[in-house]
Subunit: 328 residues, 6 copies
């Protein structure tokens, strides 16, 4: 099973030990991005994964590629140009204190200024079984939007299954941007068959009508020919937080139990859910098992460092069965 992901790779910088940036003189760094995180999660499970992106043509770009390889994701399709990589600084919250994300300039990153030819995109699709296209790429620049749409068309033409993730961030889009973004949604959605998102995405962005979640989702899936629509609900009672996953397939909806979670590092847990669901689809598990696996993968990702999933399928399946203190 060969999976390709198209999306931006950023550098994450974070102070350690829940310090604020003003309280330290060093930060940990790692490389992240929805596509990369999902591939890293899939690579843990033995699938062949490849990142399609652009990195700066300097030592930072080389370092990003080295770390991508370390995650067991192939860097063979990465292009190198420009001098800039998107960076975000993460001041992790503890307990009830929210984490704070500070984005530096992202518009001028190698990825967002990457003038790639159609031929090169087409070539990247060779032997690919599944491609993930991150919705953020539709917002960050006109170039990245064009690249994402071209790629979706090429993949669709070749019969490669496309997975799409809304990942909508209000702060990345002004009013003008919203118009382009919606146009892009309307262009890409008919080409894709697996979609990750929330009711809010369907109602507030796409203005899909409907009384209940089920109505809205069914309408959405019919309109665009979507095979799978999946996402999570987050619940909170007092200090206790719970995660629940759902998967729609045709007119069937499967919902997991609410699983209590504890948080060490909050970022990337949604990507872990996606990686979990895709694992279930690849393995052709029952939807009940798939959504359970997705939720547990996400729940465990709250307890690990960094945005990319780092626990294997074997580990997560064991944990679903039985929760122990120590594995020897």
């Amino acid at each position: 099973m060969k999976i390709l992901a198209f999306g931006e790779v950023m550098m994450r910088l974070n102070p350690n030990g829940f310090k604020k940036m003003t309280q330290t003189d060093s930060m940990d760094f790692s490389f992240t991005g929805t596509g990369l995180n999902i591939l890293a999660g899939l690579a843990q499970n033995g699938y062949d994964t490849t990142m399609l992106t652009a990195l700066p043509d300097n030592n930072l770009g080389k370092t990003a590629a080295a770390n991508i390889r370390k995650l067991n994701v192939s860097d063979r399709k990465i292009s190198y140009s420009g001098n800039h990589l998107g960076i975000y600084i993460l001041e992790l919250g503890y307990g009830g204190r929210p984490s704070e994300v500070t984005y530096l300039d992202r518009a001028h990153s190698a990825f967002n200024e990457w003038e790639v030819s159609e031929a090169d995109l087409e070539q990247a699709l060779e032997n690919v079984d599944l491609i993930h296209i991150c919705g953020i790429a539709l917002s960050t620049s006109a170039i990245s939007r064009k690249n994402a749409l071209t790629l979706a068309k090429k993949a669709s033409e070749k019969g490669i299954e496309i997975c799409f993730d809304f990942n909508f961030r209000a702060s990345l889009n002004n009013e003008e941007g919203m118009t382009s973004l919606l146009a892009a949604y309307h262009e890409i959605l008919p080409l894709v068959t697996i979609v990750f998102g929330s009711l809010r995405d369907l109602q507030e962005l796409l203005k899909i009508p409907g009384e209940t979640e089920e109505d809205v989702v069914q309408t959405f899936m019919l309109n665009y020919g979507i095979r799978i629509f999946s996402g999570t609900y987050r619940h909170q009672e007092g200090n206790q937080k719970q995660l629940q996953g759902f998967v729609y397939q045709g007119n069937k909806k499967v919902v997991s139990d609410k699983i209590t979670y504890e948080v060490w590092d909050r970022i990337g847990t949604g990507d872990a859910f996606v990686a979990g669901i895709l694992t279930g689809l690849i393995e052709k598990w029952a939807f009940e098992k798939t959504v359970k696996y997705g939720v547990y993968n996400a729940v465990l990702a709250h307890t690990t460092v960094g945005d990319s999933p780092v626990l294997s399928k074997e580990f997560v399946l064991n944990y679903m069965e039985k929760q122990v203190d120590v594995i020897r």
Copy 2:
């Protein structure tokens, strides 16, 4: 709004990662003290703050001053003399395990041996709107007590509002010390109008009679002409800890909800409460909002590293409104 604080600045040394001192060969350091912590909290909110203290005349004193500036507190009024700074070592507890504080010699610090002239103290009060005097300074040396009392008199003469904090530490006072301390309380309290403390301070130290907390506090406030008396209650049920704030003004008492808190770094949370209440007073918020803000400021301070508050007014107000996982 220009606020001055008079008090000792100490160096805090602490092992990382909840280790005991015997388990490591390095410690983090920072600079702390009730006055400094309160000013740091107020400086976050945009007020003009200045520390009035003495530091050793060596590289450690310079380092302390640099870190004070970093907290956005002015070091212009700091005096340099002697070679010693009070130090405390903090072995942070995790979960139910209590934190352990080890004080090294404090009696011979620059602050506690600071022979400052009345003229210099008077000069420090220029353009000051509010002064905070830490009650610990009444215990740590005869010199610091004299300085604190002189300063209170000068400030009172100039019509500057004085805020006083009992901060009573039994371990800092022997019997003889208690006599001097009580005399000092009787001397300073008539000069001050805002007081932070607890029922225990009024009953056990000042021997104020009364059936109920309300009686005792009212008597105390009337006796000494106190405008505001404020403090916190800590509650614990099972492993769940809760904080609650109160403010007395005249014969009105406002009490906040009990807010559950989680602990990463316990020290300095009382100072965060004080900074929160003073912020409300400066902003002339309703007392209900003020005490709520004070409690939330303190609750969040349990989740941040170090003794000084590091979260802005905007952050805390948002948190009071709505608790999210990530701020992007």
Copy 3:
């Protein structure tokens, strides 16, 4: 009171901050082993403790010895030979995520290849009041098994009280190993008077019959002449974990309350329980106090770093009395 422990000392390597090994380029190290951990716990309480083991004859062996001395355990009886020390890598879990232990080669460690003479073992027992023999030594090599049994015989001959700990690890024993191990159990148990273990050890390993735990334990104690049999129960409801201790003496069973615990570093907490019970026995406390102390010692050990107990008797007794946030 002079206590000797016989057992393997290993190096523990662990990434910090709950990272996986793949996410970092440095690890903390410390030295550990059931015997060493128990002695470290006893040394906190002022008893004279000595480790009887073999370390490699190189800089790593010297470093282990230095760290053993730092724990206040005497290294005078340590022998140096070979070039290898058992190592385990600990990837600590957070929240519900289990910790992962990766053992490297242990069969060829200095301890497991230590050809020590009977005379040297006998000499090590001089002036010893109590000896702890770790059950793991009966599994790790034929040599270590022989050494453990010889030592037990010598100690028994000299009338030194022997404490034995099953510490059974299925992963260390294949079928053939199980036969030798059981033979060794049958040889050592008649010599020992204090045993730490669980119902599972008695039923599944020794096949002791009985309807109830009490029946099984009584039969076991009678069969082998055991004076004290002690261990813990772990309970979990939702995310809340609780620990409970028990001690059998003659036909009396004392059980502690269930104490809720929070986990920072899970490993070594069983050894902390043992150290606590032995402390109570040495101090001749009532069994109720002894088992309570054992449980609290273990509960607190979950909140401290490393496998060896680091909190003094005074600290734990205070904590049993009253739980405070900060000790100044």
Copy 4:
């Protein structure tokens, strides 16, 4: 003496221990820029320094300001806008191995997109005795060039002495950029009186003719009305590196001895030289002493961490007198 500097502030990220970025997962960070480094050096010596720049309006901007204050440079004139700060990554070289600097996007930093009004610039000049304008600001954007030139005109009108630093970086300028840059040089040089640079700047950029360095410099100084022209020569014999400073005043040239230097952190040493020369000018020392001080300040800056000078005038003067191993 009040000194203002106008220039960009960047974040420096560097791996520790001479590692390459690929060999670690954490980097130290600090804030730097020619103007800031020079002010930091002057602030060590007791002068009143203020940074005139723009920082991003987010947590990174606040962190930069906090660190600027820690260097004892005032942040009162800093403007906040945009979301980006220039970043450079420094992989420090050891021994003969050169350090590698990787610049990320700088064109879209808050400073380079800072639309500041003439009135605000004028207001920033109040009570200023000396202003430093960094030549890099003439290259990095049309906006920063305009701001620099406006500021120079305003300062000149007010009779404030202007110090200018070529700091030419070929890699920052393409051919078109060179034309604008030269025009800017011709506009700013008549307004300034103190210039730091090299023969290469005068010959290759300004095309000043002359047989010898002395000829070229004299022509340059006469043409533009320059009072002081100063810079350094670097010499290398085998592995031994030496630094030498020069100052031209009118037709007098003073040259220091060649001082051998050892390198721990190479960056910022030129700025330390400038800070040293300006100190001598402010103190009105003899030029011999001034240039000696400048060179020693730079030589010592090679042995300290970070781009900003951290050694006081007293320290450097003592070192010029007598070189000891330890100062107690």
Copy 5:
């Protein structure tokens, strides 16, 4: 150009900052081995490299593989078995103080107990242009010796060029071992065409007669049909250390200049020389350039952290041309 290396991969553990193991509680770790280091050096230069080895079938093995990928060396041919990896602890020396290497058990590593089939070895040679076989594999176990010899035969049969490295370590071989090792040398040398070693290897191990180095080497090369014999000389005068490389081809000997070097991390510099020479051979450079490149690659490797070369061909060639302080 596809290069395969066969050899053991070990974990290196080292305290930081030139501390001894007794002075710290943490160590850096990385993965190393002659073959891996050489491949890492070649991978920097754009060649396709693959490691042929065995790693333990646990989290440590996975971590090693992740780090191998990070070095841009393929892990596709790695086999997983057993639970042990060879480890060495490096206490780095500073200045004249020698580095100390402590080897833990290596005999029972996955590599040294790897029972690999001939078919698997043969399969690993597919499409390979050049194979490096590390001489250490002839000493560490009978199994590894057999594997190395089998592989050499298969490669020779397929016409793949074989590069061999004596890498003789007296401490790894007792008298009996020496006999087997010499037999293995006699078996493998006729199959290989590129050899790295020293005069000492030829004289003391192989007992090749001859008056001069040239005589001995010529005899050796003729006897075994060696195309290239290469190595280094280390010179020291006072505290100044110099490295010089040589390459024999047929009866031509090319010797580089003596290049002064400074040391930050001494280990792996010989492997950097080999990687440099192989680069020259692959690029078909003149031998003068090749040996110069090899020496500079090694000289620079003394200034970088870790055993594997981390500097690109472009970096080293620039350095050979011109030595600068900073590359921007």
Copy 6:
């Protein structure tokens, strides 16, 4: 051979990586003192060493004791009282930049306020063969001076050889202090037989007359009945630093070669010389070997971290023979 040392133990705090205190938020800590350093050096060589000192009766005192044991020095004779330990902060210099030592309050340390009975001092001398008394104890307080002199008398009465170290620090003594110090010198010197110091100590402090060093030393040794007088000369030519040792015995003077040294951590190197000379005296080596060993021990101590020697006799002797890069 059992050696006792009497002297103050301090905590050393130092920033890492040659940073100034203002550039970091963490410091390494260790425990030091002339006596402790010398014992640590001797303990490396297998002698039985014991520290006679007072530490604070709190967690810092316990930590100091644990680290003393780690150095293989016995803590059995340590007394616990008070709350303070002397602290010095070390900002390490690099290259020519001097290290900076900042002493915090030392006068009120447990050691300097230690009211120990004569009986306890006498008891500490049991079975002691050699005692080292640090001259600093004669300056730091009247109590420590009294203790040192009492101890010297007791030791002398018991026929225990006494080693004395001037260790004069001008900054620790005002004029009045100098009078007491000289009186103490006159009292202690007749009791001691081994003295470490310099010509400056004899001439400037004791005012011993003489034309040449030899004259002065001979007069000194005759006057006070000194058996051994030893010390070092430091030479510098350009950037090259050299150390040379001397030993006077009777009228024989032995001088070592000048040995070039490189510096990583300068402090404690004089104590390493003393430990080296005492080793030679204990081993009854020829004076030529003894002084050579002392110098090499000190030269190597410049390359190791911390104040206490960490290299064994075997290591140093090998180094004296042959200087290699790596010991495997």
